[in-house]
Structure formats: C-alpha cells, structure tokens
C-alpha cells in the first residue's frame, strides 16, 4: 500500500477498523453522488489520502429547525463518511460545540480573521422585523451571514430553507425569510454558493461536496467550480427578485420519477389510491396520491436516507417535492397529483417527466437531454393514460367535495 502509515487518514481508518476495501467502496459511492463514474474511486481515494490539515468551517444556523444538523449526524459512524467530515475543523457549530456565549462568538471572529474557511449555512435567512426575527448574541442573523460569507472561500447552503427560504418562505412569509443566494445578491457579495435543497439536506450530499472541494479540487474554489458539473435553477424571490442557483448536476440532474423503484408500476398503470392499502403492500406507484417524483430533481432513490436504510416512497409516502423550489407553495396540497395543477392543459398533453422539467425550472437543454434519456431507457412511447387519470381525479374530487 502506497500510503501506509504516512498520513492522518490512514491512522483514522486503522483506529476505526475500516478496511481499504470498505474505503474504496465508499469512494465509489461518493463518485456516484457526484455524478462521476465509479471508476473514479481510486482517484478520490488518492486525493483523500493526500489531504493536508483540516479545513476551517463555520456552520451557521439561521432560521432553522436544526434538522439539517440532525441529518448530518445520521451519516455512518464510525465510518468513512465521518472521517471525511473530520477533514473539517468545525470551529463554530452551535448544536454540537462545547463553548457557549461569548466564548463561542470568539470562535467566529477568530476564524474570519484567519480567512481560508468555508461557511455551511442551515436555515432561512431571516429579514423580517428589520432583521430582528433572528438574533444571536444580540446581532441580527443577516449581519452574521454577511460578515461570514464575505471572507469565505465558498458557502454551502444546506437544506431548502437556506436555498430559497424553505417552508418559512411559504405564503404569506410572515418572517420575511429568504435564501442565502438571494440575500448575498442583495448585499453584493459574490462568494460562490453551492445549493443543496431538500428538507432536510441529505448528508451524503454534503460529504460529496466536501470531498469535491477539499480533496478533488484541493480547496481551490475556482477548480472546484470548474471540475464539478452544475445545473442552474432559477426562481423569483417575492422580495429580492430573480435568483440563479448553482446545484451539482450529479445530485440534482435527474428526476426522482426516472430512478424510482416503483416506476414499473407507473408504466403498467398500477397505482395506490389509498394509504396503507393492499396496493401499497404490493409497492404500487404513488402518483395518484400526489407523488411529486416526476417534477422533483434529486437522486433520493439512488442515495436514499439514513445510511441508505430507506426513503420516502419506499416507506409508502408520496414524494412531496421538498427538493423543488418554494416547495411548500408549489407542491401543496400534497395529496393532489400534478394533473390537478392543470399543467397538462396549459402545455398541451405533456407527460409527467417533461412537466417536471418545466416546473423544476431546468434549462431547455436539460429538458432535451432528459427526454433523450427517457427515450434511451425505452420509457417514452405513448406514456401512461393521462386523460383517464385526469377524469378519475375530477370524479374523485367531485365525490369528496375537496378543492385545491
């Protein structure tokens, strides 16, 4: 072994009883999460093993529920994922740090003064009540973000709240929440922002980004941006206007529907129409109970959740599209399927896959690529009988007296 005994990673692996075989396997899964070929695993392994000192990190909590912190705590431990995270020196992380109060605040000041750090931001940016809806150490949350982001090498916005305000931005947005990119645009701060939506963030994605930034790009932000494939999602914040969001393509480039293990039932027209039913026991498609998989672009079905234990659809719930933008307003009522949004009527008789692309705001080029992908997989054809489904929906709504 080329790296025997000569670096921190090797020691950590040995101490924790992780074999080289496990390690390479994990590097392969990182490659997959980044949208690279698994044959890249040895290169990732080499980059990991050659890593220098810890990267100073400030993990800032905005208007958060702490769910993204909780999520990162769900990575395998003791395992390679935690070792990767050990490459971060989390100088400030309210939920886990020992210090409190004044001593904690000093940690932020010192890290900013030294420079060369990254910011991981969790939670909404709280601008309501003149920025007083979030106060930490008597300071407005918005000021803390601006100060930290200005000198940072990069900002990683984790979870939907940090990306676009999340549920807190939900109409009528009483606390005037917004996302990190929207706020930094407003402040004229040009530090690159990597956006990792879903509620909460999937911890594997943070690990993938950390690997990419620290190791594959050797902490060089320009190289990181260059070496990573991105998709750009655009939306309009009601207060701050048009915002473009950078997201890693390997994670957010494909729809949930395309990778869904229940997809075959969709093609066959086999649907769950009531929770906890016989059809659910047979693993039928959840489209008719409102699944937002067709319009939601994440690799959840591949990476799964909680150490690859399961994910929403496997447990029997329709996807509620928490990886989409302004997901609470755009996707509710959650139990009503896409057809109810009348997208089909507005755009002609389109299939769920392409409707998803439009709703997701992906560029036209991506739509074409997506369509080609579907064709290559032999999935387009005439598609499922959408008109019948719409009829069914209308009947169901009339019977139950519900409305949108």
């Amino acid at each position: 072994m080329a790296h025997e005994g000569h670096n921190a990673l090797h020691d950590l692996l040995t101490v924790r009883g992780v074999t080289r075989r496990d390690f390479l396997k994990y590097c392969g899964s990182i490659a997959a999460a980044l949208g690279m070929s698994e044959t890249m695993a040895p290169q990732i392994a080499a980059a990991l093993e050659g890593a220098p000192k810890l990267m100073p990190t400030l993990w800032l909590n905005g208007g958060s529920c702490t769910g993204c912190t909780e999520s990162i705590a769900q990575v395998d431990s003791p395992d390679v994922a935690t070792i990767v995270l050990d490459y971060l020196s989390t100088n400030y992380f309210e939920t886990i740090m020992a210090a409190a109060g004044e001593q904690a605040e000093k940690q932020i000041e010192e890290t900013i003064a030294e420079g060369g750090y990254i910011v991981i931001y969790e939670g909404s940016v709280m601008t309501g009540q003149d920025g007083n809806t979030l106060l930490v150490a008597g300071k407005k949350g918005t000021e803390i973000l601006s100060e930290a982001a200005r000198g940072a090498a990069a900002v990683i916005a984790v979870g939907s709240c940090a990306v676009d305000g999340g549920w807190v931005y939900g109409y009528p947005n009483p606390a005037e929440a917004t996302g990190v990119q929207a706020w930094l645009n407003h402040e004229g701060i040009t530090t690159p922002v990597v956006n990792l939506p879903t509620c909460p963030v999937n911890p594997e994605w943070i690990v993938a980004m950390v690997v990419q930034l620290l190791l594959v790009a050797d902490r060089d932000v320009a190289a990181f941006v260059e070496k990573t494939e991105w998709v750009t999602r655009s939306y309009t914040d009601r207060k701050y206007g048009a915002v473009d969001l950078l997201m890693p393509k390997g994670i957010f480039g494909q729809s949930i529907h395309d990778n869904c293990p229940r997809r075959g039932h969709f093609e066959n027209g086999e649907f769950v129409t009531e929770f906890g039913s016989k059809e659910e026991a047979m693993g039928y498609c959840l489209y008719k109970v409102g699944c937002k998989g067709p319009q939601t672009f994440t690799n959840c079905p591949v990476v799964r959740w909680n150490r690859r234990t399961s994910w929403c659809v496997e447990a029997g719930s329709p996807c509620i599209g928490c990886g989409g933008l302004n997901w609470v307003d755009n996707n509710s009522p959650f139990f009503h399927r896409l057809a109810d949004m009348q997208m089909g009527d507005a755009l002609g008789n389109v299939q769920p896959g392409s409707v998803g692309a439009v709703v997701g705001g992906v560029a036209a080029a991506a739509l074409v690529a997506h369509g080609l992908g579907m064709k290559a997989a032999g999935r387009v054809g005439d598609g499922p009988p959408m008109e019948e489904m719409k009829k069914y929906d209308r009947k169901r709504l009339a019977k139950k007296g519900g409305d949108k």
Partner: protein, 528 residues
C-alpha cells in the same frame, strides 16, 4: 451584583439567550429569551389539513415526529377519526424511536460536555479506565485507541468543536478515566442515535421529517423483513441503554451530587401523555396524562386549561388567549428584561407555569403508580416507579423521590425514561407481529368530514406538544402550536411570574459569572 449572560446557548435546537442577575455567587433573578421567530402558525392558514402534517413537523428537526403526531391527532380529533390499532402501534414505535434517538443524543452530545471534559480524558491511565468501566458495570471500548485519537486531535492544534470552551473551570470534577469512558461513549452514542433513526427511516422513509403518520393512520405497511429490521435495532438500543446510558448516569452522579440541591424550578409538572394504549384514553397512555402541582396527586388536565400571555413577548396580539382562539401577530421591540424580551409566549396551565419533559412525565407516572395504577401488564417492562426507586437507592437516597426535583433529577429522569421506552418498544413490535399474524391488515381510515375543530395533545421527548386546528370546508382557518420548549422557556406572564427555566435558574450557584457553567447546565437539563 453582576449580570451573567449566555448568548447563544449552544448545544440546543434553536436560538436561546439566558441572562441572570448574580449576587454573592447566587442567581437572584433570571430571564430566558427565545430569539427566533419563523411564523409556522401563519404559514399554515388556508392550506389543507394533511399539508399541516407534512409541514408543521418542520418546526423542530430534533422532534419532528412528535409534532407530526400532534398535527395528525388534531385533524383526527377535528374530523372524528379513530386510527386503526395497527396504526396506533406503528406510531408508538415511530415515537419510541424518536424518544430514544433524542434522549441518547441529548445526554452524550448535548449535555455531557457540561460535566465531561474530553481534554481531561487525555491524562487517563488506560488500565485504570478498564478497571473503572468494569467496576461501574459500563461497557468497555478500545480506550487506548480513543485516547490516541484524542491526543492526535489535541496535538494538531485545531480543537474544532471542542475549541474555546472553559475546560479549566473547577466544575469539571470527574476523574480522567471517567472522562475517557464518557468520551468513548460519546462517540458510540453518535452511532446509536443514528440506529434509532434507522427505525424512523424504515417506518417513515427518513429522519428528520418522516412521512407516513398521515391523518387517518399510517401510510407504512410493514413486511416481515421490515419488522425484523425494526426489532433488531430496538434490541441494539436496549443493549446500549442498559450497558452505557444507565450505568454512565449512575457512575457520574456521585461526583455531582450537589446538583440535587438546585435547579428544581417551579415544581408544577404537566404531561399530556404519550404512547397510546388500545383504549386511546390519554389517562391510560403508557406515560399517562396528568398535572402535578405538589404532593403525590395528579389532576386531570385538557386543552381548555392552556393560556398564553404575551405581555413580555414580541407580539401585539391579545394576551391570555386559549390556543383554540389563539393569535400570532409578531411585533419586535427592543430586548428589555423589564418589558418585552422573547419571541416565546408565556404558556400557562391552569394559570400556572408548568415544567414539561421527561421529569414531568416520570413524576406523573410515579404518582399514578404510587397510587396503585398499573401502567403496563407485561412484567418484563421496567416501569417508571421501579426505575426511579432503584436509582434513588443506588444514590443513597431511597424513599426520597423529592430529590428528583433538581438539576440532577431532571438529567436522570430523561435517561430512566429511555430504559422504560425501549422495553415498551420491544413489547409493541411483538404485539404488532401478533396482530398482523392474526389477520389485521388495517392501517388507514379515510376521512369523511371536511369541517371541525380539534386539539392534538401529545408528548415530544422534550415535553408536552399541542396542535390546535380549525378546519372549514377542507381549509385551515386557524392553527396554533404550543411546543414543548414554549412551556419551559416561557418568559414572565401578565402577573410577572417567571417561567419554569427562569425559576430553575433562580437560586443556583454561579462560581464565575464570566464562565457561567452552572447556568449552562440548567438550561441544557430542559433539552430546550
């Protein structure tokens, strides 16, 4: 006289400030401030009731399951739905996983660093550490390897999340060997809390924010494989609780016995009750409903007994409202402890401040058991009174349950509750297997009504949670949440009476106002 301030209080969920007036080393007055407003109640208006199940759990990333259950229960109460028995058992299992995750994470990751110094652990003698672990009946780890890793961490000069703290504070009194054991278990606890959440993922798809306890029952239909996955994980958790969490608590307690003399607080304990029994009576829940205000009796209590005051909170809505008629109109003013100083409303039960959480639930359960009530028929389950009595005996205070009303009592109650809950969980898995084998395949009941008002009163790991919903024509007209921490961090009410955490702080010693470790311990003991 001096002011001691902790802002932010770290190692919690959310944003909290604690300010105390300290004279002659004792807290004379205290103000606790919630410093974040997001507005969930307003965001929920005009949406459909099922949407509330998915969205309102996002109030808290540590206890989303409890919020989701309270939300679904409020809708079920409003629309007159009784969920199927299998759904009851599955929700109990999901909630139990949440409790175990939260309690394990709280003790080791959030609270332990107030007592345990990983820095002091560097000077532990490894052989003595094994001897101590054996004597204490707590599980051993590769202590040498962990010490080596800690040393590398310290020598690197980057202390990361351990940096900047006052590890030289004289309040850190444990021998280095015990510090090393607790640090080893700190690392293992990270694994175990994740195992608890794998149960959540099996049932609910993911943690945080699981997806299946929809109004009407559950969307999760277990398979034999999934039930086995759940059983295996609860068995692992029981092993960890019995061989680390409980013995560690008992090993650390003798060194910090002075913490039984302060931190008790208001002495009023509220439990809405949690873990439904087959008859769905909240007073027959496995942790039953009750309000204890002194002595060994529990009063009946319900949704109408709650009022919220905003005289000292940054709202301009009316004060003294019951949540069924609640309003939330935010209006920030300056931080001023003599006037308004928190986004928290002052929740009151029967007009009294009420402590909620494991201590409150265990006190209520103890009172019921002492009065002759049987909480659970299965005799293999260790009940709250048995666990408390054993602990009191181990600490040399047998027959004095009043000792529990203290800082140490609040810590111990949480860990003892974990032991009770894991036993219950194992029992429910078997009950569910039996029901399914017996042919019960009902998990969900569709609603037939689109109008109604209801309250879902339940317990999160950190305390009583209530959701109030008002549905008209399938739209939410009113939504109010009284979260656990709302009770505990409540500011003063209209009469100027301090909230539970404020009262727990008053009278506590503070050795050094610049490094107020005791205040931090008390704040953490509520798991805010």
């Amino acid at each position: 006289m001096a002011r001691a301030v902790i802002d932010p209080v770290t190692r919690i969920e959310g944003h909290l400030r604690v300010e105390c007036e300290v004279t002659d080393g004792v807290v004379k007055d205290a103000w606790v401030s919630g410093t974040l407003y997001r507005g969930m109640e307003t965001v929920m208006l005009d949406r459909q009731p099922e949407d509330a199940f998915y969205v309102t759990q996002r109030i808290c990333g540590v206890c989303p399951i409890s919020h989701s259950h309270a939300s679904s229960m409020s809708t079920e109460a409003a629309l007159g739905i009784e969920i199927p028995n299998n759904a009851r058992l599955i929700r109990n299992l999901l909630e139990a996983a949440q409790f175990l995750h939260s309690h394990i994470l709280w003790f080791y990751t959030l609270a332990a660093l107030d007592f345990v110094s990983p820095i002091n652990a560097l000077s532990a003698n490894i052989a003595d550490t094994y001897a101590l672990a054996q004597a204490a009946g707590t599980r051993v780890a590769d202590f040498g390897a962990i010490a080596k890793r800690l040393t590398a961490f310290a020598e690197n000069g980057q202390l990361s999340f351990l940096g900047g703290h006052y590890w030289d504070h004289p309040g850190y009194v444990l021998p280095p060997e015990l510090d090393l054991i607790a640090t080893a278990h700190y690392l293992e606890a990270l694994e175990m809390q994740a195992v608890a959440n794998e149960v959540v993922a099996v049932i609910g798809g993911k943690f945080p924010h699981p997806m299946t306890s929809v109004p009407g029952g559950t969307a999760f239909v277990p398979t034999e494989q999934k039930l086995d996955d759940i059983l295996f994980r609860f068995t692992r958790l029981k092993d960890f609780i019995d061989t680390a969490l409980i013995p560690d608590t008992l090993a650390i307690a003798p060194f910090i016995l002075e913490t039984t003399t302060y931190g008790g607080g208001c002495g009023n304990f509220l439990s809405w009750g949690v873990f439904d029994s087959a008859d769905r009576d909240p007073y027959n829940r496995f942790l039953p409903r009750g309000f204890v205000t002194g002595g060994l009796t529990a009063e009946e209590v319900g949704p109408d007994d709650v009022t919220e005051y905003v005289e000292h909170s940054w709202y301009d809505s009316a004060s003294g409202l019951n949540p069924a008629k609640g309003e939330t109109s935010v209006n920030f003013d300056e931080y001023n402890v003599d006037n308004k100083y928190s986004y928290g409303k002052a929740a009151r039960c029967k007009e009294k401040p009420a402590e909620v959480g494991p201590l409150a639930r265990m006190v209520a359960a103890y009172v019921y058991e002492a009065g002759g009530k049987t909480l659970v028929e299965d005799t293999s389950v260790r009940t709250p009174k048995a666990l408390i009595d054993l602990t009191l005996e181990a600490l040399g205070v047998a027959g004095k349950p009043e000792v529990l009303v203290s800082l140490l009592g609040r810590i111990a109650a949480r860990n003892l509750e974990a032991a009770y809950v894991v036993d219950l969980a194992l029992m429910w898995v078997n009950e569910l297997v039996g029901a399914i084998k017996g042919g019960d395949s009902s998990y969900f009941k569709a609603r037939e009504s689109f109008d109604g008002q209801g309250a879902g009163l339940w317990e999160a790991p950190r305390g009583s949670v209530g959701h109030w919903i008002d549905i008209k024509n399938n739209k939410i007209q009113g939504y109010q949440v009284v979260a656990p921490t709302t009770w505990d961090i409540a500011p003063r009410d209209a009469a100027g009476v301090a909230g539970p955490m404020e009262q727990a702080l008053i009278g506590a010693p503070v050795f050094d106002v610049e490094r107020p470790l005791e205040m931090l311990r008390i704040a953490h003991s509520f798991d805010p």
